[in-house]
């Protein structure tokens, strides 16, 4: 952190575009005074409230949990609220902010996520519980839960989705976020429909459309790994019957204590 950054100004370049009035996007520059601990989101706020109220972006929680503020900062998708401004300043004192790529722009940094949510819905994100619901909780071992954490942490920010080259080419692809969700449900011992899920994501627009570009991992602000989830799903899809049988077997014992070794 610069000791007293009071004299430092940063040139924040924001891509401006309102498709209702503008022919094409343009970059607009704003000078922002760099304060200690300032995030990119703080800078955007500063600009919006004191320079130009028409600069438009989404935000809410401002600590990386709601998923609103994903955008493209210096060519990289990330959350504006978790990105320190000073880390992004280039040698010419500039930071460039654009909307998430590959998605239609609604206004400035706000993008239309319709396809993103459609794919989320498409994998039926809810749990399908088994018939024998116990009076108390289903028993799951800490290890089983651990495996789910890598998917349950997803905040649906879309950084991965809009960095994926395949999404850039084809919006029919389910996409890393929704496949990660599918992974969460498939691996959950409480889910009674892993077979249908695996069948659904094994089509031409599912796990086999992923070309292992890895952008999704690099973009994910939560450090998640959709690629590995997709690889796992591919393997499980290969041995669907066996997996389903194992699941049925596991579900016989869902209300029994896990035996501690």
């Amino acid at each position: 952190m610069s000791q007293n950054g009071s004299n430092n100004f940063v040139t924040v370049r924001i891509q401006r575009y309102n498709p209702e009035v503008d022919k094409k996007p343009r970059l607009q520059e704003y000078q922002v005074k760099l304060k200690a601990g300032m995030t990119v989101l703080d800078a955007l706020h500063e600009i919006k409230t004191h320079h130009d109220g028409s600069v438009t972006f989404r935000r809410s929680c401002r600590h990386g949990i709601c998923g609103s503020c994903a955008m493209n900062i210096n060519g990289r998708n990330t959350l504006a609220c978790e990105t320190p401004l000073k880390d992004e300043v280039d040698s010419r004192g500039r930071v460039t902010i654009r909307p998430l790529p590959y998605l239609p722009v609604i206004k400035d940094l706000v993008v239309d996520r319709t396809t993103f949510w459609e794919q989320y819905l498409r994998v039926k994100p809810w749990l399908v519980p088994p018939d024998n619901i116990p009076e108390k909780e289903f028993r799951m071992s800490p290890e089983e839960v651990e495996a789910l954490h890598s998917a349950e942490t997803c905040i649906m920010c879309g950084a991965c989705y809009s960095s994926c080259t395949v999404i850039g080419l084809n919006k029919r692809y389910i996409g890393p976020h929704a496949l990660l969700k599918a992974f969460l449900r498939v691996l959950d011992p409480r889910d009674a429909a892993p077979g249908e899920r695996l069948a659904d994501i094994a089509g031409a627009d599912g796990v086999y459309r992923c070309h292992t570009v890895f952008n999704c991992i690099d973009a994910c602000p939560k450090g998640l790994n959709p690629t590995q989830a997709i690889e796992t799903l591919r393997k499980l899809a290969q041995k669907r019957q066996k997996f389903e049988a194992a699941r049925r077997e596991r579900q016989q014992h869902l209300s029994e204590p896990i035996s501690v070794k």
């Binding site: 919006k48 109220g53 028409s54 949990i65 709601c66 619901i133 909780e137 501690v260």
Partner: protein, 597 residues
């Protein structure tokens, strides 16, 4: 401009836990036409930010015998003696509320708690687990047993995603990014809402047989807050303007551990897991203020202790306004496993790795105890006599049931939002199936709202909205914060009024219709100004200290005069008219006691 009116059986405003539970439950009960409006995409709701846990006396873990109040926990072996009960949970909540919570309602909440937790689990919520596979629990401030059920430090996140998915499964219709700006109540019954579709800027009326408000809290009226930008108390302000009362608004909880300067929450789970608070001299000062519970005393008490340390010159950081939260002794493994998000936040925002350094923190405005008064079924109450406003429901942080009284215990609000959201869902279903009708409207309510927006966009005012908001937050923090007195509160009241006046000539910078967040910010600021006046008026009148309301000029609790709820109505001239309502107390079971920890 479109004048087409949208019609639904049920309109729920807010897609946090409370709103979504209500919608899902109503749909499950067979109400076909349920719409949920939210100014954010549902999954962006602030419920998702909750970290620590959700309370319920499940009896899965207990303290290891002989290790004291901060020792390790272990799972309770099958068949062993239980350590917790809903009665104990009830007592803790009453004590936490400083005897201002309605005991009959608290009883409903703590009993429902157990069942709702299992329902969450059956719907797929990914909880952390004990070795034998039960839901894991941890300690939380003010609770005398480990009953905070959690999922690492992302509890709200997993609950919100789970319930949202279930609502989708049950065919609830969501309107994401629709801002509700007005509520229509005529002849004491609800008619619908006026909305601004953020994408297009169109202002429309939505008519409905039942309307529920679940718009969350109002922490944004303060400078340092743990609340999201969206928590601007729109619901309380809109309902108040529409003629509904507000209850106990002066009770605002300050959380002891907000990240220094940012206010971002460092979950109470940090202390639940064994973290310490230390001052400039390295003292564990909580020994002084709560010798028994220490760091795990309730929030109002811990925040006041910190503020006292700061005021007496023992704070840390350059301006002495901070305190240290020390986790180092927990060790890297425990921190990474139980508090991963906390570590990430500390590194990202304070540049401090809690494994190696203590985290600078300060008290932060966190939770709104007050709100729209309701009964246990979410039915909004119009006055102290309990007259219902027909068809109007509320739940979650926007409502005041009241189960939290003067101070909420951590983990009780996710619970409240869930339990009373679900109950409201059932009540709404009964209401609709009982033959509720779509009532007619007089005039075009959308029109007056269009004029408000037009005035903001094209008026000739020159006040900057953000400047007004900042000044409001400053005065609220300085004069209506953790400690208050008459002079400060009078100043705050004057300031708020002056700012309300200035807001009349406020004007936004963005003049386009499409996705105009500048207009939203202006409307939100208007709402902040509206309910802040109610907070201050209530605080000024209440000449005692109770829970989160700490008057330096009246430092004692006064059960004789003040064991009652504040009710505020908007009077003709726009100022709040205050009246009071008795607290429900089970005198034989939980009579008021001195509150010591």
């Amino acid at each position: 401009m479109t004048n087409d009116v949208i019609i639904h059986d049920v309109v729920i405003v807010g897609a946090g836990l409370a709103g979504t539970w209500a919608a899902m439950t109503a749909a499950q009960q067979g109400v076909k036409d349920v719409a949920v409006l939210s100014k954010l995409h549902p999954l962006r709701s602030h419920s998702g930010a909750a970290q620590g846990g959700i309370a319920a006396a499940l009896n899965n873990v207990r303290p290891v015998a002989g290790t004291g109040p901060r020792g390790p926990l272990e799972q309770i072996p099958e068949g062993d003696e239980l350590v917790d009960s809903w009665e104990l949970h009830m007592f803790d909540t009453i004590k936490g509320s400083d005897w201002l919570g309605d005991q009959d309602k608290i009883e409903v909440m703590v009993k429902d708690a157990i069942d709702i937790l299992y329902q969450y689990e059956h719907m797929g919520c990914v909880f952390s687990r004990t070795p034998d596979g039960r839901i894991a629990q941890r300690r939380f401030g003010g609770h005398s047993a480990p009953r905070a059920n959690y999922s690492a430090d992302r509890t709200g996140h997993v609950l919100l995603h789970t319930i949202h998915e279930q609502a989708l499964k049950h065919g609830v219709k969501f309107y994401p990014e629709w801002y509700v700006m007005d509520l229509i109540i005529e002849d004491n019954s609800v008619r619908g809402v006026v909305t601004l579709e953020v994408l297009t800027g169109e202002i429309r009326t939505i008519r409905a047989k039942a309307v529920m408000f679940a718009t969350g809290g109002y922490g944004r009226a303060f400078k340092i807050t743990s609340n999201a930008f969206a928590n601007t108390g729109d619901g309380v302000a809109i309902a108040y303007d529409a003629g509904a009362p507000l209850m106990d608004m002066e009770f605002v909880q300050f959380h002891p551990t907000g990240l220094y300067r940012h206010g971002i929450l460092m979950s109470e789970a940090c202390r639940g897991e064994g973290g310490y608070l230390i001052n400039k001299d390295g003292d564990h000062f909580m020994k002084k203020y709560a010798p028994d519970k220490m760091e795990l005393a309730p929030r109002d008490l811990v925040s006041r202790s910190e503020q006292t340390e700061i005021n007496e010159g023992r704070g840390v950081m350059e301006d002495g306004q901070g305190i240290y939260l020390d986790l180092r002794h927990l060790g890297a493994e425990k921190i990474m496993k139980r508090l991963p998000q906390i570590r990430e936040l500390a590194i990202n925002f304070a540049g401090v790795d809690p494994i190696e350094e203590p985290i600078p923190i300060q008290p932060t405005a966190h939770y709104s105890m007050g709100g729209i008064p309701t009964d246990v079924d979410g039915q909004v109450i119009a006055d102290a006599e309990g007259t219902p406003i027909v068809g109007f429901f509320a739940g979650g942080e926007v409502a005041c049931v009241s189960v939290h009284g003067a101070n909420r215990l951590g983990t009780n609000s996710l619970l409240e939002a869930s339990v009373f959201g679900r109950r409201a869902g059932h009540a709404i279903a009964r209401f609709i199936k009982g033959g509720a009708e779509l009532l007619p409207l007089t005039g075009d309510p959308a029109e007056r709202n269009r004029r408000i927006v037009a005035e903001l966009m094209d008026g000739d005012g020159r006040e900057n909205v953000e400047d007004i908001a900042q000044e409001l937050k400053s005065t609220m923090t300085q004069n209506c914060g953790i400690y208050r007195n008459e002079a400060q509160l009078k100043k705050a009241l004057n300031d708020v009024k002056a700012l309300q006046e200035r807001f009349k000539s406020a004007r936004v910078m963005d003049r386009s219709k499409r996705f105009n967040t500048d207009v939203l910010a202006a409307l939100e600021t208007k709402h902040l100004l509206t309910f802040s006046e109610v907070i201050v008026a209530g605080a000024l009148n209440r000449t005692e200290s109770r829970g989160a309301h700490a008057r330096t000029d009246y430092p004692k609790r006064d059960d004789e005069a003040w064991m009652k709820h504040t009710i505020a109505h908007k009077s003709e001239d726009g100022t709040p008219r205050l009246s009071y309502k008795e607290v429900t107390v089970f005198w034989d079971r939980f009579p008021p006691q001195e509150r010591k920890y």
